[in-house]
């Protein structure tokens, strides 16, 4: 066993972290994105690394174990802290989560700082030998890994591209619902998800009155809305025809009179 050079044993470094954590917390709570996200991520990192160190030390733990704790601790603090906050009837929002993470990270940093006066922990002498290319094989390593990355990027790009342009049947949706009680009316919507800009004729019939027709041209993804006065006792029928003149109804909705069966 040897006594290692330990960055956690340097007071200046630790004090810097302990001072930075609240500042990062403030950035997280009230700062604009992406500074808020960066502050959040930084404090989570401090929480994971310092928290694991404060709780478990590093003697006897492998690198993977320390990394696992550094990943698990922030998750656990967010889960348990959020549930505790909800139990205290606190409103869950960004400032609360920023404060929670900052407090936990600060506690972890202080925890490590508090242990600093104690003798440095011994560390296993054995290091984890990493695989390195033999002399002259570096190019093969680099080329293989670069090719692997390129192939993976191609796989992801292919998936994203084909998923983005996957063809689904085009459609348009017509709807009508009654709204308002003092001045009863019907809210009509027609959303086009056709493949191209499409002409519609929407005919609205309230009770036995003559249908009122509205010609439209909707681009894909656009919704046309109209509110029509209609007493609750009157039936309402809305028909949408595709094209420039009425043929077979393309979409049809109807509202029966309220209170009449």
């Amino acid at each position: 066993m040897t006594v290692e050079r330990d960055p956690f044993a340097r007071p200046r470094w630790l004090v810097t972290v302990a001072v930075a954590v609240p500042l990062l917390g403030v950035a997280d709570a009230v700062g604009p994105q992406p500074f808020a996200a960066l502050g959040f991520a930084a404090n989570l990192t401090v929480l994971g690394v310092a928290g694991g160190r404060a709780l478990l030390g590093r003697a006897g733990l492998s690198a993977v174990e320390r990394a696992t704790v550094a990943l698990a601790l922030p998750i656990a603090v967010l889960v348990l802290g959020t549930i505790a906050a909800a139990a205290l009837r606190l409103h869950l929002d960004r400032p609360l989560w920023a404060a929670l993470v900052a407090l936990a990270a600060e506690a972890a940093a202080v925890g490590v700082l508090a242990r600093r006066g104690q003798p440095s922990e011994p560390r296993n002498r054995r290091r984890w030998p990493t695989a390195r290319p033999e002399a002259g094989r570096g190019i093969l390593w680099g080329a293989s890994l670069t090719a692997a990355g390129a192939v993976l990027a191609a796989a992801v790009a292919l998936s994203v591209w084909t998923a983005g342009r996957q063809a689904y049947p085009a459609f348009s949706a017509l709807s009508a619902i009654r709204v308002g009680s003092a001045e009863p009316s019907v809210r009509i919507e027609l959303t086009s998800e056709e493949a191209a800009p499409t002409r519609f004729i929407v005919a609205v019939a309230v009770g036995s009155a003559r249908p009122d027709s509205v010609p439209l041209r909707l681009a894909p993804g656009v919704t046309w809305r109209k509110t029509v006065p209609a007493p609750a006792s009157a039936s309402v029928t809305v028909v949408a025809d595709r094209g420039t003149r009425s043929r077979v109804p393309y979409r049809e909705v109807n509202l029966t009179p309220r209170g009449i069966r």
């Binding site: 989560w97 054995r126 695989a131 692997a148 998923a163 909705v253």
Partner: protein, 637 residues
């Protein structure tokens, strides 16, 4: 990086030391002419090979989406190309560095995560993920954890994942869908790390730990279900970390910190997922019992304390917070009871009412049986090898017992109704000891193979070289074939009726979004399986399950009216595509008495029967999907 693990391992079946390079003796014997796969150059080549496998699966997915049948055949070669080289390297005596072993696991994690996400890289489509997406959106929008989640009511009382997702989304500004992608990947990575460190801590041999993780990665649900944004994905790694922390307590010093880690892990499991929390109580109970069963000087009381804490926490949570979980799980328990009763009466694998039997292609069924048989063989042999160690190491018996549960999981497939799903779900837990015991045996087999390799019999050597390839392929194929998605759902593609993620399309999503924006959340809806999922998740509506009576074409007859009044149904959704296609999953409705018995699609006149019922308003029409307002109609009379 240090790698020394405190000597708390099970006394090895192998005489090789924990860090002794097993290849040292045999490496010269195995070196092939001109080959250098044993050198450190192997890792980049394996990375390249497995990436080509991922590209092949991506091409198969693209073929599914765009209808290129020839390319869809690349799915299985791609899957095998991802897994087999990594598995072979993990088994190889030339794997001499723990860093490379762990790098292989990270490589496998990256590849399998991509295989999972590339199915639907731009949106969440899996119904289970959509359920938790809804819960996360509720947390972000309301700032509370107690908002009703109609798509998965128990999730409100196990809000760990929603708390995590909500915190990350609100703090980073990422949309909930992107947050779900990232959180699910992080939790899957944590699962790999937790399994590795647990195996390392139990066995103190990085080769065994590496191999165990590779074997576990072939379990039926690892690649898809366990990688989803669902509450079990959060609880599972913390279950493993709880056991790991318990194991750490054997080390001298720092007991308080380890207890804190243990309690945190128990806490996260308790508030995150019901089944995992019950498994945690059972697992810690078995470890406590094994510790108590030892003679007094070596008796271990810490597992007992951990078990008591876990039991108290889970009981308190179930009794005080998650009181509805008993009702939620009761149908599954009843189903198991019915299966047991049926078994006593000679009915093998009778299908539960409302569920369709699983139909697997013959080759996939054979692969499933082959994988199960192979693992069962390894488990039996491993149990025999480990049995003598039971006195020296108290965790030996729980390890063997857990591994032998593979027979129960295998039997469940054939005995229980809906057994394939239950078996797959249980594999998530059972495969942990199975993988570890199998890895111990494989490590031993490989070591003995090295000892007896220089016999000069090339035929046998070739056969011995082919065996691991075939075994890895069969284990992977069996796992994928018996997991999720099923064969008909394995590639993305056009809309399927009642096809889970294959039924999630823009038209259904648009209807669900309209229901939420126009009507508000929480209305009672009846509909088919797809509507049940989309309305409850994207639409935030309160959907009912066993509503087939509204689709029999009889309109507002007595049965339908009674059902509507009893369930307080306000709206009905109809998908006319149910009249054009048979249900891919076997049933049109979440609980369908005719599941698996449909010979023709539902008649269109049956589906449009509400149009002929007095007082029913058709409030939405998108061509295939009609939404009806039943309030004040003859249904509601």
């Amino acid at each position: 990086m240090s790698q020394k693990i405190a000597p708390t391992r099970l006394s090895a079946a192998s005489p090789a030391g924990p860090n002794r390079p097993a290849a040292a003796r045999g490496i010269g014997l195995h070196r092939r002419a001109g080959g250098d796969v044993g050198g450190p150059v192997a890792f980049p080549l394996i990375a390249l090979l497995s990436s080509v496998g991922t590209l092949a699966v991506a091409a198969a997915y693209a073929a599914g989406r765009d209808g290129w049948p020839d390319l869809s055949a690349l799915y299985w070669p791609g899957q095998l190309l991802v897994y087999v080289p990594i598995a072979l390297r993990a088994y190889s005596p030339r794997l001499t560095r723990p860093a490379e072993g762990f790098a292989l696991l990270l490589l496998l994690f990256v590849q399998q995560t991509l295989l999972f996400r590339m199915y639907s890289p731009l949106a969440l489509k899996y119904p289970d993920e959509l359920q938790h997406w809804r819960g996360t959106v509720n947390v972000i929008q309301s700032g509370r954890l107690d908002q009703a989640n109609y798509s998965l009511p128990p999730a409100v009382h196990y809000p760990g994942l929603e708390a995590l997702g909500g915190a990350l989304s609100a703090s980073t500004g990422l949309p909930p869908t992107a947050t779900a992608f990232i959180v699910a990947a992080l939790l899957h990575l944590l699962l790999v790390c937790a399994l590795y460190v647990l195996c390392l801590r139990i066995r103190a041999d990085w080769r065994v730990a590496t191999l165990a993780c590779v074997i576990y990665a072939a379990n039926p649900h690892f690649m898809f279900f366990d990688a989803m944004y669902i509450y079990q994905s959060l609880a599972l790694p913390f279950l493993l970390l709880a056991v790991w922390a318990l194991r750490l307590l054997r080390l001298p010093g720092r007991a308080a910190g380890r207890w804190v880690v243990l309690l945190i892990a128990i806490g996260v499991v308790t508030v995150s997922h019901h089944i995992t929390s019950f498994v945690m109580v059972a697992l810690l109970g078995s470890l406590a019992a094994s510790g108590l069963g030892r003679p007094r000087p070596g008796r271990e009381l810490r597992p007992v304390a951990a078990w008591l804490v876990a039991t108290a926490a889970v009981l308190a949570w179930v009794l005080l917070v998650a009181r509805d979980v008993v009702g939620y799980l009761a149908p599954v328990v009843a189903q198991l009871g019915d299966s047991a009763t049926g078994l006593l009466h000679g009915q093998l694998g009778a299908t539960a009412p409302g569920r369709a039997p699983l139909v697997e292609p013959l080759d996939e069924r054979l692969a499933t049986i082959g994988a199960l048989g192979m693992l069962a063989f390894l488990v039996v042999r491993g149990s025999r090898d480990l049995w003598p160690e039971r006195h020296a190491e108290p965790w030996t018996l729980p390890l063997i017992s857990g591994a032998l549960l593979i027979f129960a999981a295998g039997g469940l497939r054939f005995v229980a109704s809906d057994g394939a799903e239950l078996s797959g779900r249980s594999a998530t837990f059972i495969y942990v000891p199975v993988a570890l015991v199998a890895a111990i045996v494989l490590h031993d087999i490989r070591r003995r193979g090295l000892d007896h390799h220089d016999t000069g019999r090339r035929g046998l050597a070739l056969l011995g070289g082919a065996t691991p390839v075939v075994a890895a392929a069969v284990i992977l194929m069996g796992g994928v074939a018996s997991g999720w998605p099923p064969a008909w759902d394995r590639l993305p593609g056009p809309y399927l009726a009642a096809g889970f993620e294959r039924s999630v399309d823009p038209q259904g999503i648009a209807a669900a979004e309209w229901a939420l924006s126009a009507l508000g959340p929480g209305h009672r809806w009846a509909g088919d399986l797809t509507a049940y999922t989309l309305l409850a998740t994207i639409g935030d509506q309160n959907t009912v399950r066993d509503d087939g009576v509204l689709f029999d074409g009889r309109g507002a007859d007595a049965a339908a009216s009674s059902f509507v009044k009893r369930e307080d149904i306000q709206f009905l959704t109809v998908d006319l595509r149910d009249s054009m296609r048979l249900p891919a999953s076997g049933g049109y409705f979440p609980v369908d008495p005719n599941a698996g018995r449909y010979r023709s699609p539902l008649p269109r006149t049956d589906l449009t029967a509400p149009d002929r019922v007095a007082g029913v308003s058709r409030i939405y029409d998108s061509g295939d999907i009609y939404l009806y307002d039943l309030r004040g109609s003859a249904y509601d009379g």
